[in-house]
């Protein structure tokens, strides 16, 4: 822009200023692309969870304690699926008075790290009277340990929200657990003999009351509990009085 040129928005732009402005705009657009690239490349890992678009039919044995689950016979053996409703709600309301035992249901599979979950497609869980129930697997106790990790809501972590952990997801995880989604414990810096992902219960094996853990959800925590393997499902029976943040 020369000293004699003067810009007025509603008049023609002076010729030298026009070239200067074009250069500035190109520089700004380059900054736009650079910042977008930089910030995008720093996005957190999303995990490998999946959430299917189409519902599938399942037949298996319903267990409602400590959290609603379905055991299904597959070629690879007995597979355990956690059950949840749509939105941020556990399956209890949808199951109504359906008793433990053989059922048919349809739902959207959610899968991560070998663990499966079914989001019920509708409130049409049907009892099957002619089929024998799949027996509850034997419980293998793997000792009492103190672990560091994070309490997550299983539905988001397994694949509905990717990523579904950490500080950014804290409010959502709290809301999900408040709504009855089963909590899970994801271990950090674990030894090879400790599973990465465990269903979280109270020390007596019962469901965790949400208000006991909501302030700790998504934080880095330490807790002591007993690890138990039930078929293909790992469970951490936690002494919640030992639950504490580690940073």
């Amino acid at each position: 822009m020369s000293a004699r040129e003067f810009y007025v928005g509603y008049l023609s732009m002076p010729p030298r200023l026009r070239w200067t402005v074009r250069g500035l705009v190109l520089l700004l657009l380059a900054l736009v692309a650079l910042d977008a690239w930089l910030v995008a490349s720093m996005q957190p890992a999303a995990g490998k969870g999946t959430w299917a678009d189409a519902p599938q039919e399942y037949a298996g044995t319903l267990t409602r304690r400590p959290y609603p689950m379905l055991r299904v016979k597959t070629q690879a053996g007995i597979k355990t699926y956690l059950l949840v409703s749509d939105e941020k709600r556990g399956a209890e309301a949808a199951l109504g008075v359906t008793p433990d035992g053989p059922v048919k249901l349809s739902g959207f599979p959610i899968t991560r790290s070998g663990l499966g979950m079914i989001e019920l497609a509708a409130n049409d869980v049907a009892v099957i009277s002619e089929t024998a129930a799949i027996e509850e697997p034997a419980r293998e106790v793997h000792g009492t340990v103190t672990l560091e990790g994070e309490i997550v809501d299983s539905k988001c972590w397994l694949g509905v929200m990717r990523p579904g952990e950490g500080h950014l997801h804290k409010a959502c995880a709290s809301l999900c657990i408040r709504g009855g989604i089963p909590p899970m414990f994801v271990t950090r810096g674990r030894g090879s003999d400790v599973p990465a992902l465990m269903l979280l219960t109270q020390a007596d094996g019962s469901a965790v009351p949400p208000e006991l853990i909501i302030p700790f959800v998504a934080d880095a925590v330490r807790v002591t509990g007993t690890i138990e393997k039930r078929g293909d499902l790992w469970v951490l029976k936690a002494d919640l009085s030992t639950l504490a943040r580690i940073k």
């Binding site: 890992a45 990523p163 409010a171």
Partner: protein, 349 residues
């Protein structure tokens, strides 16, 4: 400038400016989504909704920095004035992007649960006593409220009805809002999932750039004002030799405790008016005489140099000052005349 209110007084420059805003937003979001979802990247499996929320938030944060940088850049170099001219549209566009980010994030993270989403926004994370786990969403919500007030009043209707001083004060809230947004990003995106030192440094670099630009523009302005302060004993201000003022331009002189005075030279005479445009308090002294009128460098508002009045049908007025010539030097009475009062121009020997 305009004599009547319409939603937008379109002209060619504004249309090109708005196309540029649209292209910039599309470029940002396009690059962001392409990079974050690139095959093989750790974030490749990110939920589409979260990807869009992140892209909108990052885009809005970048736009806020551009908006905050344009003002001081235009004070440092007139080459940036074309970017300042339609900054209002950039501001409203920024608000729409920030609002989309907030609305989408509120729905995705806080709706479909057992609490009202707007209640969940403030209570689902109860850790207001912690820094690392602070509910950063609330900081963004308060900032958005300020941006809404600013966007809603981004029109000359509000500027005139609130008065330039009140309007400017309201729009100065962009600085506390910016501080809230910086904390929102630092405690949110930059610290999520274990945190990224590079992310924190990127935010810090943006903050440092904005602070540096504002401080530099302030220092330059102070030095300009200082160099023009020439007081004489009788109470009039010595504005220096008239011939040193370029034709159709002004020299700005300062009155201690008062506002700046723009002394214009044109057609063999000089006149003095307030340095503050009646529109948005733009620096009239950095403007020019165009078609016989003082023309503001910010938005082109015009005033007759001898009366301080906008040419009919416009009705804006600025204060005039009495001037006289002595030994080739311009002297200005620091006491302002009432807005729009004619003041006899002083002829240059």
């Amino acid at each position: 400038m305009a004599a009547t209110y319409t939603p937008v007084h379109w002209n060619r420059h504004k249309k090109i400016y708005d196309l540029g805003i649209g292209a910039g937003i599309a470029l940002y979001i396009g690059v962001f989504i392409a990079v974050a979802s690139a095959t093989g990247s750790a974030s490749a499996n990110t939920s589409p909704e979260i990807l869009i929320i992140s892209a909108l938030g990052a885009c809005a944060f970048f736009m806020l920095h551009v908006i905050l940088a344009i003002g001081p850049l235009a004070r440092l170099s007139p080459a940036f004035l074309p970017l300042l001219y339609n900054r209002r549209h950039l501001g409203v566009s920024f608000f729409l992007i920030a609002f989309s980010h907030a609305a989408y994030a509120t729905i995705w993270y806080h709706a479909y649960g057992v609490l009202n989403p707007l209640v969940s926004l403030f209570v689902s994370n109860p850790r207001y006593d912690a820094i690392g786990s602070f509910p950063f969403e609330s900081l963004g919500a308060f900032a958005l409220l300020i941006f809404f007030v600013m966007a809603a009043t981004s029109h000359d209707f509000w500027l005139n009805n609130l008065s330039a001083v009140v309007w400017k004060s309201v729009h100065m809230l962009i600085y506390p809002a910016y501080a809230l947004v910086v904390l929102h990003v630092l405690l949110g995106a930059a610290s999520g999932h274990g945190g990224s030192a590079l992310y924190v440094w990127t935010v810090a670099a943006g903050f440092a750039a904005i602070v540096t630009l504002h401080v530099t523009a302030g220092v330059v302005q102070y030095l300009r004002d200082k160099s023009h302060e020439r007081m004489i004993a009788v109470g009039w201000i010595d504005a220096g030799p008239a011939r040193e003022i370029p034709e159709n331009c002004a020299r700005v002189v300062s009155v201690p405790g008062g506002e700046g005075i723009a002394v214009f030279r044109y057609d063999g005479k000089v006149s003095a008016v307030s340095n503050r445009c009646a529109h948005q308090m733009g620096p009239l002294g950095e403007g020019r005489i165009v078609d016989g009128c003082i023309t503001c460098p910010w938005h082109g508002w015009q005033y007759d140099p001898a009366t301080g009045r906008s040419p009919p049908p416009f009705v804006e007025k600025v204060a005039t000052y009495d001037v006289r010539m002595a030994s080739g030097r311009v002297f200005v009475n620091p006491k302002p005349n009432a807005l729009g009062t004619p003041a006899e121009p002083a002829k240059i020997g």
